[in-house]
């Protein structure tokens, strides 16, 4: 077919284009007239109205700050509350000479320089007419001194504010977190409108993770004031929605037991209610008092906390990473059974060391001279290392990696707290990517006894133990059980159900061996089996901090405390109907059986005793 090429007709196009130019100009004029009409409406008809509004800016929109939600433990004990407190506040707009006023106040009330600096920073972010606190939490003496001198300080006044208070102080500081003044970095991140009136924001723990819910929704009032900023009239008001109250799964009495049981050691205890995943204990020692952070901790105190060698600000339960030592063995044994690398009855001979065929290096057992003939049960009860070297060699790193990953090693726990760590479950890929090296067989062996690259957090250990006790139904730990807003009550975070397919016989074999750890005659944790009418299943662990040379001897008393082994213990109870799973890590504590196990024992006994009474 012949194509018809359209031809440009210049005359038609010229005409069309000129038409459009004229049309465009008319549209532009009309729209501009629209703008002018609106301007006339604002500047002529509305002039008087707006001029009076502009005068002294007498109409203001003030944010109405919502009351922060409270935090309770599982029995309704209050963990974070709001207390009225008196603060000294300044309105820069009303102060004739701010610097002079500040220096006179400093003299009168002995205010440290850094508080003045903090105030200056805060003031620059606020409008000139907003009341900005200089001193929080004033004591009676300060109140009295200022009350007398008040006529000499126009624009300075005492205000009552609600200040966050944590009655349990250092006991659960890491998990509850704290609120502090909004800093410059946070100011950029936070929604402007919601935080226009707020001075504090949740920083860590539950306070940080549930900030939006705890904070509530800011309201506002349009207020009319006279020249002296005295309220005349409220024109329009939207009341704030108070923050939601949070009910945690945490048991603060149990937390106290765990925290006290750690004594002077540094370490962490995590206990999980197996059926739900609710976290009962989340203790990290040493703790710190969160209350000074609320009112602004002094620089010296903060530096002291920061530079302290035992790191009190560090949440060991959530973020501390340790080699699991022998506490990994029940999981490795389960992997061995599931992959048919071993059977429960099969025995091996332990001469006290293991050698890779053709290599002279001896991988030593903790027991010189060896355990002799060892079955699975005996291997776990007495924590025979040679058994697990052989098992690890038979399984290979690929199987160990894929099985342990299912139990949550090397993955974040999914807990409703920010800042969780995934730890490290090594694999061939990981070593190639990170270290650009191949995987060596010897590394497989030491992974089998929980040493080497393997790194776990106490929370991950507790979670894996709970999942084992729950017979492969993966437990996802969480802390918030109930969220109570003014209107409704909502459940905590959603946890999705996942199940690892495991053979019941295999689980039973592992549990029987773990019961033997606590109740057997040769068990490494037999000292905690007294005075109970049920059975505890557990496993001790001792994690090396210091590498020991091939033929050297490890002598506890010769070694500086900070190089001593970490003591670990995992347990769940009752063994036949598991309710609670516990993981304990005691830094530089020495042996798991003697130091860590009694702590877990106390927690388990107290929880199950209280459980019985209910």
């Amino acid at each position: 077919m012949r194509r018809i090429y359209p031809v440009k007709d210049n005359k038609v196009e010229n005409h069309l284009f000129l038409n459009r130019i004229v049309a465009a100009f008319i549209i532009i004029i009309l729209l501009t007239l629209g703008l002018i009409v609106r301007l006339m409406y604002l500047q002529i008809a509305g002039h008087e109205h707006y001029a009076s509004l502009a005068k002294d800016n007498s109409i203001k929109i003030v944010p109405l700050v919502p009351t922060r939600g409270k935090i309770y433990d599982r029995h309704g004990k209050i963990l974070a509350e709001n207390r009225p407190s008196y603060s000294l506040e300044l309105i820069p707009e009303k102060i004739p000479d701010l610097n002079d006023t500040l220096s006179r106040l400093q003299k009168l009330l002995a205010i440290p320089d850094e508080k003045i600096e903090l105030y200056q920073k805060l003031r620059k972010r606020q409008k000139r007419f907003t009341s900005t606190p200089l001193l929080l939490n004033m004591n009676n003496e300060e109140l009295a001194k200022f009350a007398v001198a008040r006529p000499f300080f126009p624009g300075v006044d005492i205000q009552t504010r609600l200040v966050r208070h944590y009655p349990y102080s250092d006991l659960a500081a890491h998990v509850i977190g704290y609120v502090g003044r909004i800093n410059e970095a946070e100011l950029k991140e936070l929604p402007v409108a919601e935080y226009r009136g707020s001075s504090h924001v949740g920083k860590l723990g539950i306070e940080g993770s549930y900030e939006t819910l705890l904070h509530g929704k800011t309201g506002y009032a349009e207020i009319e004031t006279n020249v002296h900023a005295r309220l005349l009239n409220i024109l329009n008001e939207k009341v704030p929605d108070p923050g939601a109250n949070l009910y945690l799964t945490l048991d603060i009495d149990l937390q106290k037991t765990a925290y006290d049981a750690l004594g002077n050691f540094d370490g962490a205890v995590v206990a999980i209610e197996i059926k739900t995943g609710g976290v009962l204990v989340f203790a990290s020692r040493p703790g710190f008092d969160p209350n000074p952070f609320v009112v602004g901790i002094s620089n010296d105190d903060y530096q002291a906390l920061q530079s302290s060698t035992n790191q009190p600000l560090f949440n060991r339960a959530l973020r501390g990473l340790y080699p699991p030592g022998s506490t990994i063995k029940p999981f490795i044994a389960l992997a061995g059974l599931e992959y048919d690398a071993i059977s429960p009855q099969q025995k091996i001979f332990c001469p006290g060391y293991y050698q890779i065929p053709g290599v002279s290096h001896k991988y030593r057992d903790w027991k010189k001279g060896g355990h002799g003939s060892v079955s699975l049960n005996k291997a776990l009860t007495e924590s025979c290392d040679v058994y697990f070297y052989r098992l690890a060699a038979a399984l290979g790193i690929d199987h160990m990696h894929s099985f342990l990953q299912k139990l949550g090693f090397g993955e974040k726990s999914g807990i409703d707290l920010v800042g969780g760590k995934s730890g490290l479950m090594p694999s061939r890929e990981w070593k190639r990517d990170r270290k650009n090296q191949v995987w060596y067989p010897g590394e497989t062996l030491i992974t089998g006894i929980g040493q080497g690259y393997l790194q776990v957090s106490p929370l991950q250990l507790a979670r894996a133990t709970a999942t084992l006790a729950n017979r492969g139904n993966v437990v996802t730990p969480f802390l918030v059980n109930k969220i109570a807003t003014a209107q409704t009550t909502l459940p905590g975070p959603e946890t999705h159900q996942q199940t690892i397919p495991l053979k019941p016989d295999n689980i039973d074999a592992i549990v029987a061996a773990m019961v033997n750890v606590v109740h057997g005659a040769h068990g490494t944790a037999k000292r905690i089996n007294q005075d109970i009418g049920y059975q505890i299943a557990g496993k001790t662990g001792t994690a090396q901090v210091l590498g020991i040379k091939q033929n050297a001897k490890y002598n506890e008393n010769d070694i500086d405390i900070k190089f001593r082994d970490h003591a670990l213990f995992i347990a769940f109870a009752p063994a036949d109907d598991p309710k609670i799973a516990v993981a304990v890590v005691v830094e530089n504590g020495g042996h798991g059986g003697s130091v860590a196990a009694p702590i877990a024992g106390q927690v388990i006994k107290q929880f199950l005793k209280a459980n019985d009474e209910h």
Binding site: A24, I28, Q43, Y50, A51
Partner: protein
């Protein structure tokens, strides 16, 4: 035209005339732009709390912008047409690059770091989109047929969506209107325009029906910011007070109280018109609008005198987009349009838009001063 006027045009040009022709500067347009820039300094001095730093930086940018305008005015418009596709393609490529870098880096990113300055591809695309559409339509008979309209729509959509994704709604709106402007001047039929508007508005209730409550809330605050007085509405409420209190004659230069006392960081940028209206009142506003209309009128005149289709379409679209700037910015500050980030052209603080705008006027001057044929 009678012979007498025709003879006049053949008279030897004066010395000044020769000089101006050599410079390729259009005097009326130049005067309008220059006056507006001077006004910018005056208002910025007041809105920026008499900070000389702001003024020097603005002066540097305006200087650079006028330089770029002069350079572009010297280039033959044929060259613009020749490189339209290439420049448009480059702009799209850079937009995609910025988007990818923004995703791999932290948060939203709009610019490429070029050592000593930041380059925003979205600014470049404001000019290259109308160039591309004009190039595409110029060689076909006008008005464009359905197929051409369809292609042109896609060519407008791609950069608009890329910029809206940054997210920069204001710039996306300007790019879209620069492209649609070309279609309008190319003779897009009135009936079709009405039909499109009708279809789009009939979709609104359907979309509304499928939105969740919180999404509806967002749209409502977007359309009526006064329901969110601590957030978006804060600016609008304060700027209405500032404008209204200016009255007919204003409070005089440096007399703004609202911006001093309790205003927004945007008093130098997007909301600068509020300061202007407070200090110079309705009379000043009328003056500014007239100044803008003169610039737009001269630009449309230049478009009408252009001698080929490409130049006409491009020139008229650039003039139209300039008006969109003015209308959207003032409309939002006086509270009749939703708040999108569009600066007041040639006056708001902030360099990139001034450079782009004056580059556009450079192209207009080039079109006007490189005529191939004598006027008929």
């Amino acid at each position: 035209m009678n012979t007498e006027t025709r003879r006049e045009q053949f008279q030897p040009p004066s010395l000044l005339g020769t000089l101006l022709r050599k410079l390729h500067i259009d005097i009326p347009l130049f005067i309008g732009l220059f006056l507006t820039s001077l006004l910018s300094f005056a208002i910025l001095y007041s809105a920026g709390s008499q900070d000389m730093d702001i003024l020097t930086r603005q002066a540097a940018r305006i200087g650079l912008a006028f330089l770029l305008m002069t350079v572009l005015a010297h280039i033959d418009p044929y060259q613009f047409k020749r490189y339209s596709v290439l420049l448009f393609g480059l702009g799209i490529f850079l937009l995609v690059a910025v988007l990818i870098m923004g995703q791999t880096g932290k948060g939203a990113q709009r610019w490429l770091e070029l050592g000593f300055f930041r380059f925003q591809p979205s600014e470049m695309i404001k000019i290259t989109t109308p160039m591309m559409i004009a190039w595409y339509l110029a060689d076909h008979p006008l008005p464009p047929n359905v197929k051409q309209l369809f292609t042109a729509t896609i060519l407008i959509f791609v950069p608009t969506l890329l910029i809206a994704k940054q997210p920069d709604l204001g710039t996306a709106l300007l790019v879209a209107s620069s492209g649609v402007g070309v279609l309008f001047f190319a003779g897009l039929s009135w009936r079709l325009m009405l039909a499109i508007i009708a279809v789009l508005s009939s979709f609104t209730p359907i979309i509304w029906h499928y939105m969740r409550d919180y999404q509806r809330d967002r749209v409502l605050t977007f359309l009526n910011p006064e329901t969110d007085p601590l957030g978006r509405g804060y600016h609008i409420i304060q700027s209405k007070i500032a404008i209204g209190s200016g009255g007919i004659y204003g409070k005089g230069w440096l007399g703004s109280t609202q911006s001093e006392l309790d205003f927004l960081p945007e008093s130098s940028t997007d909301f600068i018109f509020a300061v202007f209206a407070e200090e110079f009142g309705l009379s000043g506003c009328l003056g500014l609008l007239i100044l803008y209309l003169l610039i737009i009128g001269r630009s449309l005149y230049i478009a009408s005198q252009a001698q080929d289709t490409y130049s006409r379409l491009l020139a008229s679209s650039l003039a139209f987009t300039f008006f969109v700037y003015v209308f959207v910015n003032i409309g939002m500050v006086i509270g009749i349009l939703p708040v999108v980030g569009v600066p007041l052209p040639l006056i708001s603080y902030g360099g990139t838009s001034i450079v782009t705008l004056l580059a556009g006027f450079g192209i207009l001057m080039s079109i006007h001063t490189h005529k191939k044929f004598l006027p008929l």
